[in-house]
Subunit: 498 residues, 2 copies
């Protein structure tokens, strides 16, 4: 991995002085083309050996380009803020700093830093290290599919090279402060660090997002090499992506007998108001108690409500939040993505709202829009929604592993019931705003939505995050059923079974 970066590449001071102004201008031009075209975002990962010029290169990039459109982040695995994400998946911090399309993000300290350090120090064993590297591969594959260009720079220097560099810095009183005891201490683990790094590079140098290993020993050489490579990437990112031929998998077929999971339910369920009120109160009490269980101190709750218009999502959510402490929950209504959200990978806007331990987030519609409305209305490409199932499952797996209990409800109503509710809304002055021409249009596409729902449940009702389908023609029965299922899931979590 590091062989050719140890032969002492260098260029003369003169060559540097000739190349630098040209490179600088070209980088600025490419940066502005990127910003204008907004096809994609560019993420630069800066990793490597301490002392091999990581920080200097980041400074140069910011000097060479217009820093207003660059977001530079140093997310260290130690120090303050590193563990503020309690209960959120490890990738959460990085989702917070993804650059939007047209912009450049420089991540100096990134998703490689902690896995490599933990493995080098022997804290993460082989299996855990492998699992984290696989998670990174999946994450980067998703980013690439969403149009992000990853520029992965690895600055290398040999063990002796680092020792020499530290010593020469220490000798000069003007630079001695740059080498600390902590630097020497980390350097003691050079070999373990290199071993862990070599494996990480091997496992994550993919066709879409390869690593570039740069010899860090000569500042001029490494600066121009890194700059040229960044330039080439910026130029590519400003162009239309190149089409690569692939055989797309066909869409799941519609069931031959026309029967769907949704119409296999008994929609005749009914509850008398008096029984309802009694059951509701008891279930709300049970829910409130469960949420305060000491066993759930390191857990969070992610609730997802999906269903056609007028299925009763909002009113059901209110019956749940009535049992919750306002400081500990948040309801996130999800509509069409805004401009800032469209400039990011699809799941970005949901990552923002993930709860900490002991908190709940209730999504009124959710990331399932990708495989429902976006699929049916053609708001995204077939390629995007067909890979969506897998990305959603991976997302929910990360949530679950970070301690979230993911509970997903589909409130199922019949077309007849929806019609009744639409008509009732139109007849009620304070509800008429709840019904729009869009709602009527969506209704016409009922069979397409029904098929998308079936596929969604088939592909995303998983061992870790099953769907609960609740027949909701009778609102009272539905609300009680949702609360009952939620309490059941929480009880399993309290018992350590989920």
């Amino acid at each position: 991995m590091f062989e050719s970066a140890e032969i002492g590449h260098r260029i003369s001071r003169k060559a540097y002085k000739e190349a630098e102004p040209l490179l600088r201008q070209a980088l600025l031009d490419a940066q502005f083309a990127l910003l204008e075209k907004k096809h994609s975002a560019v993420i630069v990962l800066v990793n490597g050996v301490d002392g091999a010029g990581k920080g200097e290169t980041v400074n140069l990039f910011n000097e060479w380009m217009d820093p207003r459109h660059i977001r530079t982040e140093a997310l260290s695995s130690e120090g303050p803020g590193a563990h503020a994400h309690q209960g959120r998946p490890a990738m959460w911090r990085f989702w917070q700093v993804l650059p939007p399309k047209g912009h450049v993000g420089i991540l100096f300290g990134n998703w490689y830093t902690d896995p490599i350090v933990q493995h080098a120090l022997g804290r993460d064993k082989k299996n855990r290290f492998n699992a984290r590297l696989e998670e990174i591969r999946a994450f980067e594959r998703m980013l690439t599919a969403e149009g992000v260009l990853l520029v992965k720079l690895w600055f290398h220097m040999s063990n002796e090279g680092v020792t020499e560099r530290f010593k020469s810095l220490e000798k000069d009183p003007k630079t001695a402060w740059r080498v600390t005891a902590a630097d020497w201490e980390r350097h003691r683990h050079y070999d373990q660090f290199i071993q862990a790094s070599a494996k990480a590079l091997r496992k994550t140098s993919t066709g879409e997002a390869p690593w570039l290993v740069i010899d860090g020993s000569d500042p001029a050489y490494r600066a121009i090499t890194a700059g040229n490579y960044l330039l080439e990437n910026l130029r590519r990112a400003a162009q239309e992506p190149t089409p690569t031929p692939v055989h797309a998998a066909p869409q799941p077929p519609a069931p031959l007998d026309g029967r769907s999971l949704l119409d296999s339910f008994d929609y005749q369920r009914h509850l008398e108001r008096k029984v309802y009120e009694d059951k509701l109160e008891r279930l709300q009490g049970r829910l409130n108690g469960l949420l305060r269980s000491p066993e759930l101190q390191k857990r969070s709750l992610v609730l997802v409500f999906e269903g056609v218009d007028a299925a009763g999502k909002g009113s059901t959510i209110r019956r749940i939040t009535q049992a919750m402490d306002a400081r500990h929950y948040r309801v996130v209504p999800v509509a069409a993505p805004n401009e800032a959200e469209r400039a990011q990978p699809y799941l970005w806007r949901f990552w923002r709202y993930l709860p900490e331990w002991q908190h709940s987030v209730i999504f009124d519609r959710s990331w399932y829009g990708r495989v429902l409305v976006e699929r049916v209305e053609g708001y995204c490409s077939e390629h995007a929604w067909t890979r969506g199932y897998d990305e959603i499952n991976a997302f929910e797996e990360q949530l679950t592993e970070a301690g979230a209990l993911v509970v997903k409800f589909w409130l199922a109503i019949t077309p007849e019931q929806q019609l009744k509710r639409f008509e009732a809304r139109q007849a009620t002055p304070h509800k008429v705003h709840k019904i729009t021409p869009d709602d009527w249009r969506n209704r016409d596409k009922w069979p397409l939505y029904a098929r998308a729902v079936d596929d969604m449940i088939d592909r995303t009702s998983t061992d870790i995050a099953p769907w609960h389908i609740v027949a909701s023609d009778d609102k009272l029965w539905s609300r009680v059923e949702v609360l009952r299922l939620l309490c059941q899931r929480l009880e399993a979590a309290v018992a350590g079974k989920a």
Copy 2:
């Protein structure tokens, strides 16, 4: 995962009789279009619950289509043949039965069977199961990238459904033989099997190769559903693949200072013939002894020789084989792929030659052709060779994990030395056949090859399979050095360190 396959989908006998002849004709037509176009191969994976119609569907597919162009394989994880692959990676068996382009392979018993069974029975724990599923994802991604269409059929039936089916088969004396004690025994583990399966399906239902879960309870319904889906896939496979826009990563840049790893070596090394003969003999003896070490009983040896024309690969290999037992080694010279090889995924022709335990295979040129000659001469797309590094690393990781010691040599000579040898060959009657116009043409592309070699070493000299670069202008010195390095690696293996 299995929800919508438990609602008892069915179609009438009449509907089946109407659909079947049309489907049959369409399948035949699609099969012949596939065969004519040869864009891709189609692999049908048939998995699911016992009793849900797997075998029946495979029989139907063979009946409906022309079986001459279908290869049906039942690779069971138990029974004879299952462990004949000692020392070969677990995927080896499946590489042996991949259908060539234009053909259909039906794998009934495939790379999912053993991982699911081993995990369901508690033999493979979570980490191992995850690792095997990741390996499958990588394998299927490679197949898809190489133009294979994967049709993944999962036949499902509820626990009660299977029990009922077994009982009704047992009641009828004509079918009672179809249910064995072993079937009932396996059925006892239904729940564990379903749990493991649900996870496998979640982790491997990707955008490129999703699973289709089919309700297996009604033979007519499942047959037409599976047939229609296969038809849709065959039709897609017979068409040109659809271009999907991706931002390809740029090629690794050429070093700014024009220096390459290869020219950082000392080519002046030299050995007197007398010293050489003495050293050679001693090293050959050492090698022979090492190969017979009891510590290497469950290991194999994979040797790779690469280098420009006339670098001395053949003569070096002969010095190695002189120390080997003819029953235990095989030399595989690698030239341009033939027609059968071009109809398969790139690595296919190398998988065929992987050694068993205690055997050695010596590749005279190898899979590195992908990132050397194919890259430089444009024999494959940029997309193919840029993902090649990752695929090669994954391949060598599988080799290593199966017990192979992978030792790779680049025999490095200077252009001047190559010219001398070319001229000598042309002047020697019995060597003149060894030099062709191609050799002279390749020589003109020296700088392109040098860059490809540098990239190759940077990207594939890994912790598990490092490259050894041996300066070979002096053949005697080079041969001794190769033997020395080989013995060193074997000694590390004997000591349990590799």
